[in-house]
Symmetry: C2
Subunit: 116 residues, 2 copies
């Protein structure tokens, strides 16, 4: 595989909440995503959910409190735990999920993950 | 789990080639490490090897060529592929490996991974 420059990958698209696959790792998609506004409350019953903030600020709402992340901060939402990501201003994230994981926790509403 | 500030975690130690666990994700250790100089040639027969450069520059030598990474660049060494990381100046990395993976590919020579 070629090396992956995250900033370069992020410059290739503008839409929000639409993760782009940049690498594969042990059956997981490594993805970048731009987010702004509120996502939906959801949980992933079979996988933890990895968030690393590359740029901007992200709030991960949990039923028992909020987690506030800035650049260089990461959080892993344990599998089965309901959460809602939100960002007042555009934020750029690195995400890692098993192949085929729907970003909303539900295949019917999930964004299609494409490579970039 | 609390959120993880990578810079803060990296400020808590100084040794090189000694990964520190900062989070767990789907059976994997998420780790930070400071590196300088040449590591050993090795391979991991059962796992891909994830490198993200947070600071500085890293070269991953492969038998068929070198990969040069700077901040915000990542590379996944596929399982079974021989490689040798090296850094002329100190570099800071995010690593992800399954629980218990020896960093040298060999339990006999591996660094002990502790949380930080």
């Amino acid at each position: 595989m070629p090396k992956v420059n995250l900033e370069q990958k992020l410059s290739a698209f503008n839409e929000h909440w639409s993760p782009k696959v940049v690498a594969s790792f042990n059956g997981h998609d490594v993805m970048v995503v731009k987010v702004k506004g509120e996502f939906v409350w959801h949980a992933h019953p079979d996988t933890d959910d990895f968030f690393l903030v590359l740029k901007g600020r992200l709030t991960i709402q949990l039923r028992d409190g909020d987690v506030h992340l800035g650049p260089g901060e990461l959080y892993v939402v344990p599998k089965g735990v309901e959460h809602r990501p939100m960002a007042e201003e555009e934020a750029h994230l690195l995400l890692i999920e098993p192949f085929g994981t729907p970003n909303t926790g539900d295949d019917a509403t999930a964004a299609t993950k494409v490579a970039v």
